[in-house]
């Protein structure tokens, strides 16, 4: 009888363990006192400051400490997780929460580095704008393995004092570059913004861009990408430093725009010009705009590794970051200016002023690696 009881309760416990429904009060209870190590890009003082604010709020309200682990590239965290997977370190891992999208998410999913589906069970999920493509990440289904955090759009920034009529298509951009040698460039692939520039250009130049939304194969790649390489050949010849050198990141293009070395900078934040003006990085005469065809758009996400030590803390933190309060502050033009993933009616303050450009969805992630490899082969050395 006793044995039976033990067996039954074990069964019950394991059933509970597998249950997909989150019992939120329990989660909050367990989260209390946990420290969440959040691996996120650490290059922007604005973002770092926002996360410090989030830590303060989370500590006072939920007793959860959010520790921002500043990485130069989030892939550093992914490699670390892979190493822990190898060492069979299935609990008490070093990473509790990561900021990912696209290729990194694909890697995490492929090597089983993510905890079970959680996003749609968060209490604040109800505020999320379901008309946005929040369930796919670079056409990879998210299956609730990551929760949306913000929205990115590939935009260009120029200074109205130097330039009245910015080029609004990639062909016009080339014409401008030929007319003004040494003033236009793009970040070096395989950096995130560099590859995005290639993708955006390809979407405009390809004869049939529906193929870009399907997995790539060698034959279609050669045929479809031919006009892009022709374009890049011409652009590099007149680009900044004649294409022998490229900026390492979008942030560097912004610095170079301010230094007067470039005429057009690049960013994935449609509010970048405004926030950079507020912090003193750019002049008040700068403006962000998108190409006529629209802006390459994607959503960036938050996820929790399978072996996270503070899983409940991470859930509470992510839920908080999805709250109208946190999202309104994130969208605040004086703070970070990252567009919200919540339905507009939940947003307050200057974040309401964010105007999104017409969006172009991201191509299938397999194109990313193919474009990067080809660029490297042609121009990377």
């Amino acid at each position: 009888m006793h044995k039976l009881f033990v067996g039954f309760s074990l069964l019950l416990i394991s059933a509970l363990g597998q249950a997909t429904d989150l019992d939120w009060p329990t989660v909050e209870q367990k989260a209390k006192g946990q420290t969440v190590y959040f691996y996120a890009w650490g290059g922007s003082p604005e973002i770092n400051n926002y996360l410090r604010w989030a830590d303060k709020r989370l500590s006072s309200e939920y007793g959860v400490h959010l520790k921002h682990v500043k990485v130069g590239d989030i892939a550093e965290a992914i490699t670390r997780l892979a190493a822990e997977k190898t060492a069979k370190k299935n609990t008490n891992g070093s990473v509790d929460m990561v900021w990912v999208n696209g290729e990194n998410f694909k890697s995490m999913k492929r090597y089983d580095l993510i905890t079970e589906s959680f996003a749609t069970q968060l209490p604040n999920w109800r505020y999320v704008d379901k008309t946005l493509p929040v369930d796919s990440d670079f056409s990879e289904p998210t299956l609730g393995l990551e929760a949306p955090w913000g929205l990115g759009q590939l935009v260009f920034i120029y200074d109205t004092e130097n330039l009245d009529n910015p080029p609004t298509s990639f062909n016009e951009l080339l014409a401008y570059a030929i007319e003004h040698p040494n003033k236009i460039t793009y970040p070096k692939p395989p950096s995130f913004h560099g590859t995005s520039f290639l993708k955006a250009a390809l979407l405009e130049l390809a004869s049939d861009n529906t193929k870009l939304y399907m997995p790539v194969d060698t034959q279609t790649f050669t045929a479809i990408s031919a006009p892009l390489w022709d374009y890049i050949d011409k652009l590099n010849a007149v680009a900044w430093h004649q294409g022998k050198q490229f900026p390492s990141s979008a942030s560097e293009t912004i610095q170079l725009l301010d230094d007067g070395e470039l005429d057009i900078a690049i960013s994935f934040n449609p509010n970048e010009a405004t926030t950079s003006q507020q912090s003193g990085k750019l002049s008040d005469t700068t403006v962000a705009y998108a190409m006529k065809a629209g802006a390459l758009s994607n959503i960036h996400f938050l996820s929790i590794p399978w072996n996270a030590a503070a899983k409940e803390g991470a859930l509470v933190a992510i839920n908080f970051l999805l709250s109208p309060e946190a999202q309104s502050r994130k969208g605040d033009l004086a703070i970070w200016g990252d567009p919200t993933v919540l339905a507009p009616q939940h947003i307050t303050g200057s974040a309401q002023k964010t105007k999104l450009f017409k969006s172009i969805p991201e191509p299938h992630p397999s194109w990313q690696a193919a474009l990067e490899a080809e660029w490297q082969k042609r121009y990377g050395h």
Partner: protein, 598 residues
């Protein structure tokens, strides 16, 4: 009788304890080499459990070779490291030749510490602020510079920056070596044969200096081959140096690049080995094989050491005020010479967090440098004993140098995997251990000269007078070597403070120091915030150097101390207490000798 037995017993106990301590030291300081090397070699040949690969293969090497631009990257890496090592050696020698014991030598020597203290990353940030086409120099001249020194194709900017940064290190390491060499006698003898100063230096002192500075040159060479952080900030990008490539591959989201990365890390180690041999070979050519230049008459190369030292100091010191201005700038657009809007906001914003980070960096540095210092002293003591007693096993110098010579990236990769299998959550333990491991050879090197010039006869006298070995060490040797110990401690602290990869890889990114923050922030290119971190990064080790210098002054400066111990080796007067009284006359004599020889 009983008392005698007792003393013999206690002596053997002491000697066994000492042997155990040496053994422990060796284990702690060299153990990481094993997993480091094993992990590296296994993964380079395809055995990578992380991606479910359990068979040995050459896939990594094949994909590495197929990578377009690999050959350029290797050539570039070799060019940068050979050129910067050669240049810094030549410049260092030129400075020694023209300034050694000149009127302002004392000032040069005092000023070496602050320049040495400037961490590579902070220096690179400042260097970039100076030399970008819209940098401070361009602002002064009012138009953009069209030559390119930052991220340039041939790595010239990287070479210049590394050279400037290594000259003070080599100078610093040369001081105790030259003090052993009896430069003045050599110069006077040469002069009597009517050779001038430059000829005497190049024909007589160079062949003696070169073998002694060998290990320092090795360190410089190995550093320049495997440096990641500095190369990321100012190095070429298309293609980057091999170390940067390997670092990028190691951190690729696509784990399938791991075999390529590990193969690259192994190639990096081989390149390093190759260049180290080439230094040794060049040294052999110059000093043993082709000696005709030494006796081919009175020809000497004209090299202007004074201008080199001025440029070195100027560039290094001018970066500090520029960093300071940037840290208070709200808006500073090109080509304005000063910011148009100033602000305290970045300091205010960071201050609260900075205290934590500074405390963190300092605690790690203090703990690891102190432990490494104790280890270095133990190993030196052991070597000194082995010197007199041939039966004792010596700790091979090459083994000591390995952490300094092997590319960090290659070693750390293996160590990181090993820590995962043990218990990787002891982040601080692993990071401190790694810092000890990497700081140890530098401290050892810094103590090398003073330890060698210590007169063993002082110990013999003390021991014959019935002092116990430990008492002899504590009361006679330690006070004499204390200034050198202080400086070595500061060297260790600055090495620890500058560690980027070990802190990041073994601390899982959780342990933030000024250096890791500085590099993470540099990816965002915000000059104002980078400036704050670079500035603080420069100031912290500087403080320790100042403390070390002040304290060593109190016990007699390094210069006086070494001159003092030199004095003992040269003369028969070996009473320990005479050093402080005899030094002043000694150094006066020295300066006079130089002025005569000119």
């Amino acid at each position: 009788m009983n008392a005698l037995l007792k003393s013999v017993n206690s002596q053997s106990v002491a000697s066994i304890t000492f042997k155990m301590v040496v053994l422990l030291t060796v284990i702690i300081s060299f153990l990481p080499l094993l997993p480091g090397l094993v992990g590296l070699i296994f993964s380079a040949f395809g055995y990578i459990p992380a991606i479910d690969q359990y068979t040995f293969s050459f896939t990594g090497f094949n994909t590495l070779l197929a990578w377009p631009g690999l050959d350029q990257s290797i050539i570039l890496t070799l060019f940068v490291s050979i050129a910067s090592t050669l240049l810094s050696a030549v410049c260092c020698f030129a400075i020694l030749q023209s300034c050694w014991h000149s009127r302002w030598w004392k000032k040069i020597e005092t000023l070496l510490a602050p320049i040495m203290a400037l961490p590579h990353v902070a220096f690179a940030v400042g260097f970039a602020f100076l030399f970008t086409p819209s940098g401070f120099i361009a602002r002064i001249f009012g138009e953009q510079i069209h030559w390119q020194l930052i991220h340039d194709q041939y790595g010239l900017g990287l070479i210049v920056a590394l050279t400037l940064k290594e000259i003070p290190f080599l100078l610093f390491m040369s001081i105790p070596l030259l003090k052993q060499l009896n430069i003045n006698t050599t110069l006077i003898t040469a002069q009597s044969l009517s050779y001038n100063n430059a000829q005497a230096w190049q024909k007589l002192i160079l062949p003696q200096w070169l073998p002694k500075i060998r290990f320092s040159l090795f360190a410089v060479m190995a550093y320049s081959i495997s440096v990641v952080d500095v190369a990321l900030i100012i190095g070429p990008t298309q293609p980057p140096t091999l170390a940067v490539l390997v670092w990028q591959w190691l951190n690729d989201a696509d784990l399938a690049t791991l075999p390529k990365a590990s193969a690259g890390a192994l190639v990096l180690s081989l390149l390093c080995l190759f260049t180290l041999f080439s230094i040794r070979f060049a040294e052999w050519l110059i000093t043993v094989k082709c000696k005709t230049w030494q006796s081919n008459g009175r020809y000497s190369l004209p090299i202007g050491g004074k201008s080199i030292i001025i440029v070195t100091y100027l560039i290094a010191l001018i970066t500090l005020p520029i960093l300071l201005i940037w840290s208070f700038a709200q808006r500073w657009r090109f080509p304005d010479i000063t910011p148009s809007r100033w602000s305290l906001r970045f300091w205010q914003q960071e201050w609260h967090y900075l205290l934590d980070i500074i405390a963190n960096s300092m605690i790690i540095a203090l703990v690891s440098a102190t432990i490494a210092l104790i280890f270095a002293i133990i190993v030196h003591e052991h070597s000194a004993k082995a010197e007199t007693n041939k039966r004792r096993l010596k700790v091979p110098r090459l083994l000591i140098a390995i952490p300094m010579l092997a590319p960090q990236l290659s070693l750390l990769f293996g160590i990181q995997v090993a820590t995962l299998y043990i218990a990787n959550q002891y982040y601080y333990l692993w990071v401190i251990w790694a810092h000890i491991f990497f700081a140890f050879p530098y401290i050892f090197l810094a103590l090398d000269g003073p330890w060698r010039s210590y007169d063993q006869r002082l110990d013999n006298v003390a021991l014959s007078l019935g002092m116990s070995p430990f008492k002899t060490w504590w009361q006679i040797k330690r006070p004499l070597l204390l200034p050198a110990i202080w400086i070595a401690w500061a060297v260790g602290i600055s090495v620890s403070l500058a560690q980027y990869l070990p802190t990041l890889m073994l601390g899982a990114g959780r342990i933030s120091t000024l250096t890791t923050e500085a590099v993470a922030l540099s990816s965002g290119q915000d000059r104002r915030i980078s400036a704050i971190y670079a500035l603080l990064q420069s100031i912290t080790p500087f403080i320790f150097y100042i403390i070390a210098i002040l304290v060593s002054r109190k016990t007699g400066s390094l210069e006086q101390q070494s001159a003092g111990s030199n004095h003992h080796t040269n003369t028969t007067n070996s009473a320990p207490n005479s050093s402080s009284t005899s030094t002043s006359t000694n150094s006066r004599v020295t300066t006079r000798n130089v002025s005569i020889s000119k």
